[in-house]
Symmetry: C2
Subunit: 88 residues, 2 copies
C-alpha cells in the first residue's frame, strides 16, 4: 500500500467510476485499474463491486475510505507544518 494507491482509491470512490477517476488523478484508466488492483491484492479482498454502472464499494472499500481520507489530510497537514517550521 502506497500513498499513491490511496489517492487513486479515493478518486475512484468519490467519482464513482474508474473512468472519471482518471481526471482526478491526472492519469489513464489502465493505471487506475492497476492501482486499485494493487490495493485489493495487498489488503486481501475486493474494494469495489464492478457489476453496476456506478462503482459499488464493498464493506472493505467503505472501511478503507474513511481512514484513507484521514491519512491524506494528516499528510497534507504534516507537510504544511514542516514547511512552516523554521530551520534548525
Amino acid at each position: 500500500m502506497t500513498i499513491e494507491d490511496l489517492r487513486y482509491f479515493i478518486a475512484a470512490y468519490e467519482s464513482g467510476s474508474f473512468k472519471s477517476a482518471t481526471q482526478a488523478t491526472g492519469s489513464v484508466p489502465s493505471n487506475v485499474s492497476w492501482r486499485i488492483r494493487n490495493l485489493e491484492g495487498s489488503l486481501g479482498g475486493k474494494l469495489f463491486e464492478r457489476k453496476h454502472r456506478r462503482l459499488q464499494p464493498t464493506r472493505k472499500g467503505m472501511r478503507l475510505y474513511g481512514h484513507a481520507k484521514t491519512v491524506m489530510a494528516m499528510l497534507a497537514e504534516a507537510e504544511r507544518e514542516v514547511r512552516l517550521a523554521r530551520e534548525v
Copy 2:
C-alpha cells in the same frame, strides 16, 4: 513523500543514527541515507542535524515525527479493519 520514506525516517529518529536504522528497516546505510534525503528534498529542509554523535532532529524533523507516527498507526489500523471486514 512515501510511506516507506516515513518508515525509514521513524527508524532513524528513534534509533538515533542511520547505521542503527538499518536494523529497524532491514536495509543498508546507503538506502537510509537516500530515503532521508528524499524526504528532506520533498519537504524543503533538513530533518536532522548531522554534526553530532547522536542524530539531532531539527524542528522540522520533530514536527514530522509526531505526524509520521500517527499516520503509520492509522495505516496499520486501516489495514487491520479492512482485513477484518467481511466481503461484499
